[in-house]
């Protein structure tokens, strides 16, 4: 118990606490004894006062009795004016300690007046006087004198006080004995068993089968009830603990199994909060999205180029409470190529969502391969007729605002000869090389298609003047005109004729545009091959188109 000047408060408290015993036994006993002392003091005070009053009255009554006992003798003394007799009576009376003085008078004569009284008789407050008239022994009606007893206040007080002290002493002794007995009984019947139970309970370990011992003979009272209830409670507790442990084990097993499933799954499984922060995830998730994919990361950052879309997806799913999914193309975490993932978000309830990330790259590739197969030429990798037509139709869709492009229609010169002379394989080589030329020359975004055996189409987006178109066409012709290695040390020499048609604003159909380009190409061939000719713009809009169409149909 140290008390420092810095914190006197705890110091003082602990010093005070040092006087309060911790044990229930000591505390109860001390309380009972303290109570006994307090009540004893209170009762003593009351009793002392009461006894003093009663004793005072009793002593005065005794003085009256004293007078009564000597009455007949006094009456004789007074009757006979007998001072000797009076003195004798007075002597007897004065043997009582409370009688401080006696005065006996017969008529005017004083038969006796004690010396002890006379000097202080004047001080009225110091004495009580008990006076009574004395009658003749032979005539009760004739007064012959008077006897007066002086009673010392101090003596009365002293005697009363002594008696009160004695009584209070006895009372206190009784009180002390009773208090001690009560304290002992309380200790025996209540506090000791409770202390025993408390100590036992304190040392008890939580395990099944634990029991408090019942104090003997207490089976039916509150102590027994307490012990019984505590035992029942503990039995229930240990049962609950056991079943909880079993439950926990079962749960652990199931969780482990579940975790194994989750850990071994190929699907990335993760839990997100409402803001899209990863709370937990499985190894597959990290495998798919790389090392940055770990708890604490924002999913929208992990799926970087699609951040806003992913955030919107999560928000939507969270708000609606319904699952949402989306396919996303990402740069592969190892930096090689792209991967496709399918992200699906399911609200889990509360603030959490579950997200599944599937690597669907292979599927996507298969899909796109199928798509490619449908729309591309397998030999050259360029769009096939169908693919090119659809690209053209998409570009010329009436909904588009601005249509500015040049359609180049290319026909190879002398290809048939190569094919015939060196075989299909050589022809195929030529065609592939031609495709490379196109790819080198035009932008990737510009669709290039193989429309027939040796006929190609290119749509140059944004090219609307003849000079530019001619320039590109010239580059192409020049590229194609280069000798082409066809194997076995042979080279072919082919050329190209190009027809150019501009797609302007209007509602010209793809067929119309192609026809015009075809016309221009034909014109270029006519002009002597290796040329590019620009087709005239459509004569008029709808009508001309119609006419053209009807014309071609007729043809």
């Amino acid at each position: 118990m140290k008390s420092s000047p810095d914190n006197p408060q705890p110091g003082r408290r602990s010093r005070f606490a040092a006087f309060v015993p911790r044990s229930i036994v000591a505390r109860t006993s001390l309380s009972i004894l303290l109570l006994a002392v307090v009540m004893g003091l209170m009762f003593s005070a009351i009793e002392s006062w009461r006894i003093r009053v009663a004793e005072h009255d009793r002593l005065l009554a005794r003085v009256h009795e004293l007078v009564g006992t000597v009455e007949s003798t006094v009456s004789i003394a007074c009757f006979l004016n007998d001072a000797t007799l009076a003195k004798e009576i007075a002597g007897g009376l004065l043997k009582n300690r409370i009688v401080a003085g006696v005065r006996i008078t017969a008529g005017a004569t004083t038969l006796f007046a004690s010396e002890r009284v006379s000097p202080v008789a004047g001080r009225r407050g110091a004495f009580d006087t008990v006076g009574t008239p004395v009658y003749s022994p032979f005539d009760p009606k004739s007064e012959v004198g008077r006897i007066t007893l002086y009673v010392s206040h101090a003596e009365i007080e002293a005697q009363a006080a002594a008696y009160a002290r004695y009584s209070v002493g006895i009372l206190s002794l009784q009180m002390a004995i009773v208090a001690a007995a009560v304290a002992f009984l309380v200790y025996l019947l209540v506090t000791r068993p409770i202390k025993g139970i408390s100590d036992e309970l304190h040392l008890l370990e939580i395990r099944s089968g634990m029991r408090l011992t019942l104090p003997s003979g207490r089976r039916k009272d509150e102590i027994g009830q307490l012990v019984g209830d505590v035992n029942a409670l503990m039995a229930r507790l240990t049962d609950a603990l056991d079943s909880e442990r079993e439950l926990r084990q079962a749960q652990e097993i199931s969780e482990r199994r579940m975790r194994l499933v989750v850990d071994k799954a190929d699907t990335g499984i993760l839990v997100l909060d409402a803001l899209g922060t990863v709370q937990s995830c499985n190894p597959a998730f990290m495998r798919i999205l790389g090392a940055a994919a770990r708890p604490g990361a924002l999913l929208s950052n992990l799926l970087a180029p699609h951040g806003p879309a992913v955030a919107a997806l999560i928000a939507e799913s969270y708000a609606s409470g319904e699952p949402r999914d989306k396919d996303l193309e990402l740069a592969a975490s190892d930096g090689r190529g792209t991967i496709w993932v399918e992200l699906s978000v399911n609200p889990l309830g509360g603030e959490l969502l579950q997200a599944l990330v599937n690597d669907i790259t292979e599927r996507k590739h298969a899909e796109s391969a199928a798509q490619e197969l449908a729309s591309h030429d397998t030999l050259t990798g360029l769009l096939n007729r169908r693919g090119f037509d659809s690209a053209l139709a998409k570009f010329l869709a009436p909904s588009r605002r601005e249509i500015r492009a040049a359609l180049l229609l290319i026909d190879l010169d002398r290809f048939k000869a190569v094919n015939d002379a060196y075989g299909h394989e050589a022809g195929d080589r030529v065609l592939r090389e031609v495709a490379r030329v196109f790819e080198r020359t035009v932008r990737r975004s510009d669709p290039v298609g193989r429309l027939g055996g040796d006929e190609f189409g290119i749509l140059l987006h944004g090219v609307d003047n003849a000079e530019k178109a001619q320039e590109i066409a010239s580059t192409i012709i020049a590229g194609i005109s280069q000798p082409i290695d066809i194997g076995a040390g042979l080279k072919s020499h082919i050329g190209a004729s190009i027809g150019i048609a501009f797609a302007g604003p209007g509602t010209e159909s793809p067929a119309g545009l192609l026809r015009r380009a075809d016309g221009a190409m034909y014109a270029a061939k006519q002009a002597g091959r290796g040329h590019a000719c620009v087709a005239a713009p459509p004569s008029s809009h709808l009508s001309a188109d119609r006419e053209d169409e009807s014309e071609s149909n007729a043809a």
Binding site: L80, N81, D82, T84, L85, E88
Partner: protein, 144 residues
Amino acid sequence: MKQTLITIALCLLALGVADASEPATIVVIVNPASGIDKLSRDEVIDIFLGRYRKLPSGRTALPIDMANPNADRARFYQLLVNKNPTEISSYWARLVFSGKTSPPFQVPDAETAVELVQSNPNAIAYVDRAALNPGVKVVLEIKP
């Protein structure tokens, strides 16, 4: 109780001796030369019970009592102060040691009392009226 019975018995005896028809009257007598004609009841009490030993005339009084047991004596004290002879004896017994006064002089019978009164002018006695003698003077009749 016993004493009361004895007293009653003695009274009956006295009545038997005296006139049977009339209750006996006690009279207080003095010597004719004493100089007094009458005494009050209180004066007789004072003299016989020792308060004063003087006659109203100034002469010292010599009360003469009967010795126990005596029917007149019992009757006298009974009628005078309503006390029986035992009480009177007890009264005197208390005064034995004070020395200031003494019980009256006692004579064995009424004749001796009367003789003493006849011969002594200070003497004062009580007797049954029947025992009266012309040589003495009645100063008080004590009737029941």
